[in-house]
């Protein structure tokens, strides 16, 4: 049996490699290939275009930090979606939770004078809390009223969206003669100018450090704690979890709350660290939906979400560089879209490979 234990470890490593990592790389490759076909058809040289894109991202310290700046918020929303998914919930509401997080951060920054340093921390926490409440509403409705979280979170996204627009336009927050709020107060800013000479206009902010901390937080909760154990049990088999004495309603609410908190933190650090205000929006910005993509590219794994977030952030930033050679920056969206589709299709493809392998080795399906 010792032997099988060892074998199973190796098999597990192999399966992680095979099933997730390689498939993801392959999907990215397919995405880039699809992008080059489009480039060719529209009369651009793919090598030149990709050179511009990746060179533009990886070229200097400054551009690399820009990519990180783009990545930070979507790492949070990616984690949010991932966490919910790991506990059997589909959080489409990261968008709304992100908005609420940003809004709460703004409100605290404007209305609650505190000494510098502390102010920022409190505002970030307020953002996390607001996101948590927004997520928990969906969790509570699911747990105690049986309303599916997908529907509730989609509706909550719109409520958050209009609520944010409304608050921003009230006299208390509106910046005169603009369609945006006032700036967050100086004391609540969480970025630093200390690296200005290295990174120029990039906003180096505490959220960039908080993101990997959040990754570790998710991973530890899910894999190492009794809380994660219970949340996952509810995700896999609600009935057995309930029968085993786990408070299912509480678990679902808590899980959505944690998920919402992660997205809310993303909104808060973006507002306090990068944007500095909230504008009245005509359409949702899509940070929450990007989170779904990040979660998928990351293989629905917290650590995966970190790298997927960086990748996606880099692509988003790099897209703007395509204008240099006259190629449309929307190309990046096409590439990401193809990657997502490939990953989804890979699921089917994987099932097929598994099927044939199983047949060959005589394993059951």
């Amino acid at each position: 049996m010792r032997q099988t234990a060892e074998g199973s470890l190796r098999a597990r490593l192999r399966s992680v490699w095979n099933d997730t990592f390689l498939y993801t790389l392959l999907s990215i490759l397919i995405g880039l290939l699809a992008g080059s076909v489009i480039l060719l058809v529209t009369g651009f040289n793919p090598i030149e275009a990709y050179g511009t894109l990746f060179g533009g991202v990886l070229g200097t310290g400054k551009t690399r930090m820009y990519a990180v700046q783009y990545a930070a918020p979507i790492i949070f929303t990616g984690l949010s979606v991932t966490f919910a998914f790991k506990t059997g919930l589909f959080n489409i509401g990261a968008e709304g939770q992100y908005i609420m997080g940003g809004l709460a951060a703004l409100v605290v920054s404007v209305l609650m004078p505190l000494p510098a340093g502390l102010h920022g921390a409190v505002a970030v926490l307020a953002g996390g809390l607001a996101g948590a409440v927004w997520g928990a509403v969906a969790g509570l409705l699911k747990a105690y009223k049986g309303i599916h979280e997908v529907i509730v979170t989609i509706m909550l996204n719109w409520i958050a969206f209009y609520f944010s627009n409304f608050i921003v336009m009230t006299p208390m927050f509106k910046k005169p003669n603009s369609t945006a709020s006032v700036e967050v107060s100086e004391t609540a800013r969480i970025y630093t100018d200390a690296f200005k000479e290295h990174f120029g206009s990039v906003h180096i902010h505490w959220g960039m450090l908080l993101a990997p901390v959040a990754v570790a937080f998710c991973w530890v909760i899910l894999n190492k704690t009794t809380l994660g154990f219970r949340l996952r049990a509810v995700g896999f088999n609600r009935n057995a979890a309930e029968y085993g004495g786990i408070n299912v309603g509480r678990s679902i609410s808590l899980s959505m709350g944690i998920s919402g908190m992660l997205a809310g933190l993303g909104g808060a650090v973006q507002v306090l660290g990068v944007v500095g205000r909230i504008t009245q929006l005509a359409a949702q910005e899509g940070y929450g939906f990007d989170g779904i993509s990040v979660s998928m590219i990351g293989g629905i794994n917290p650590i995966g979400a970190l790298f997927a977030g960086l990748f996606y952030g880099g692509m988003k930033y790099g897209g703007s560089k395509l204008n240099i050679i006259g190629a449309p920056s929307e190309l990046v969206n096409v590439i990401i879209g193809v990657i997502i589709y490939s990953i989804a299709i890979m699921g089917a493809f994987r099932a097929l490979v598994f099927f044939f392998r199983a047949k060959k080795e005589g394993r059951p399906l």
Binding site: T4, G7, T226, A233, N237, E242, K360, G362
Partner: protein, 522 residues
């Protein structure tokens, strides 16, 4: 294999329906089937008997094309075939009904049966009328008695199973494999199924049935093949052997059917239920005014025909369904409509009726399942962090004590275990909880006779350790063997009570059918 036996079969009839020769099936390095031979004559009922994890389901999955054997040969009606998929098996006339049904609940019976084989009328238009007629005709011919228009989610487990059989027949199977068809059926439904199997054979079909119930084998099967640890032990003519002999062949030792049980020494009342009323799904008072007590140190059996409120009673007792009114106390503490968590904390442990729905998280490992309720205890977690080594050690210990197979399965997913071994995991967990009250609902469902004997001993030893045990089971034998007192439920009430040693089948049967309580005194 017994030469004379296969000799007579071959000489007297056309080639056998199924001939599996030297089938070996490996899972990695593990041999689930090791040179197994199985010859099934046409128009016969052939039983396959073996311990939990012996490899019965595996062998049948090979025959049905779900698994490809590592080596060996299969002949169907004398012709050598390779069955690489279930659709190929169906082409060859082999059909299988799995232990866990595969029906679509919101669909009607007809819709389920024709799924994938819809009769068409022209381009893309389904001929429902014809489908219905065909299904009805089949149902009548074999006496299956299914309502073709009922939705699957509304019909009983027994009828769902008959619908599955109908589905297999609809696809033209003449060799039917039934994997533990009776383990979730009530005695009445089992009788119906036995009659149906005889009809099938009379109509020229061949039936292969996996079952752990020896009496059933004696009652219906012609031949029985015994498998132990993946190897064929023997194929015998059922009429030539006793149940006792079958059991010893399968386990490899003598099995004690009777249990050595000291007289009970009941103590304080642990469970007290008074005037309990519970509504069922359709808002009927399925339990109406039920009274019951279980004392420390006694086993109370609850017997009754299915549908007399037992399920609702247990659901209310275990916190899965809200009761309407009444009293439930555990050791004097009010436990009316409390959550499963509170019940657990106040000394209630239970083996649920549906092991896959309520008992196990199939995607969790065996080890994780074993700490599902008490992961918060200091042994398994500290400051909210899991102590994985302790959890694994705990699992190793329990799987060994309770003989959960294969050995060393602590890290395996619960879903990969054979059905009987899944049940053992639950029993191990609930019995080691060592609570004041142990509720057992059909605790030995799907277990082999050896394992049943073992579980029964555990239940009795819980009693001897001063625990209160409530046993609810469809198996009258089990109830009679273990109970110190038997309460018979009829229409949501306890209709009568008999001392364990004094009960007999006939008397209980009468009471279950609604006879007067004093039938006990005749």
């Amino acid at each position: 294999m017994d030469d004379s036996l296969s000799g007579t079969v071959a000489a007297s009839e056309s080639p056998p329906a199924v001939d599996m020769l030297n089938i070996t099936m490996m899972f990695g390095a593990f041999k689930a089937n090791d040179n197994v031979c199985l010859t099934v004559p046409r128009r016969s009922i052939h039983a396959i008997l073996g311990e939990n994890g012996a490899g019965k389901s595996t062998l049948m999955n090979v025959l049905y094309g779900l698994l490809q054997p590592t080596s060996g040969e299969i002949r169907i009606k004398g012709e050598r075939v390779s069955i690489d998929s279930p659709s190929r098996a169906i082409e060859l006339g082999v059909g299988m009904v799995h232990q866990h049904f595969m029906l679509v609940p919101p669909f009607t019976v007809v819709e389920n049966i024709i799924l994938g084989r819809e009769p068409m009328r022209g381009a893309g238009v389904m001929d429902m009328g014809k489908a219905r007629a065909d299904v009805k005709e089949l149902s009548d011919r074999y006496g299956l008695n299914v309502d073709p228009d009922a939705k699957v989610e509304d019909i009983s487990v027994g009828m769902q199973q008959r619908a599955e059989i109908l589905k297999v027949l609809y696809r033209g199977a003449d060799i039917l494999i039934l994997d533990e068809p009776t383990s979730s059926l009530t005695p009445q439904e089992i009788k119906d199924l036995e009659r149906i199997m005889k009809n099938l054979v009379a109509e020229g079909k061949t039936v292969i049935i996996i079952t752990h119930k020896l009496a059933e084998i004696k009652a219906i099967a012609d031949l029985c093949t015994i498998i132990r640890a993946g190897k064929t032990i023997d194929t015998v003519r059922v009429s030539d052997v006793s149940e006792q002999e079958l059991a010893s062949m399968m386990v490899g030792r003598t099995v004690e059917f009777s249990i050595d049980k000291k007289p009970a020494t009941p103590g304080e009342v642990v469970l007290n239920v008074e005037n309990l009323v519970v509504r069922d799904y359709w808002d009927h008072e399925a339990v109406n005014g039920l009274n019951l007590t279980v004392r420390a140190g006694e086993i109370v059996g609850m017997a009754g025909v299915d549908g007399n409120g037992q399920s609702e009673f247990v659901a209310a007792l275990t916190g899965l369904r809200k009761a309407e009114s009444g009293v439930i106390t555990i050791s004097g503490v009010d436990m009316f409509n409390k959550s499963p968590r509170t019940l657990f904390e106040h000394g209630v442990s239970s083996i649920p009726e549906d092991r896959q729905k309520h008992g196990l998280v199939l995607d969790f490992s065996v080890a994780e399942n074993l700490v599902l309720q008490n992961v918060g205890e200091p042994e398994f977690s500290r400051h909210g962090f899991l102590r994985k080594d302790n959890i694994m050690n705990h699992a190793r210990e329990l799987t060994e004590t309770y003989d959960v197979r294969p050995a060393g399965c602590a890290a395996a997913k619960a879903g990969s275990l054979s059905g009987g071994n899944q049940q053992k995991v639950i029993i191990a967990r609930e019995v080691t909880n060592d609570k004041e009250l142990l509720i057992c609902v059909n605790p030995t469902r799907g277990l082999d006779v050896g394992a049943i004997e073992y579980v029964h001993r555990h239940i009795v030893s819980q009693r001897d350790a001063g625990k209160a045990v409530l046993l609810i089971s469809f198996e009258l034998d089990e109830i009679m063997k273990l109970s110190d007192r038997i309460d018979v439920v009829f229409r949501g009430k306890v209709a009568g009570s008999v001392e364990g040693g004094k009960a007999d089948q006939a008397m209980l049967g009468l009471m279950m059918a609604g006879g007067e309580a004093h039938a006990a005194n005749r």
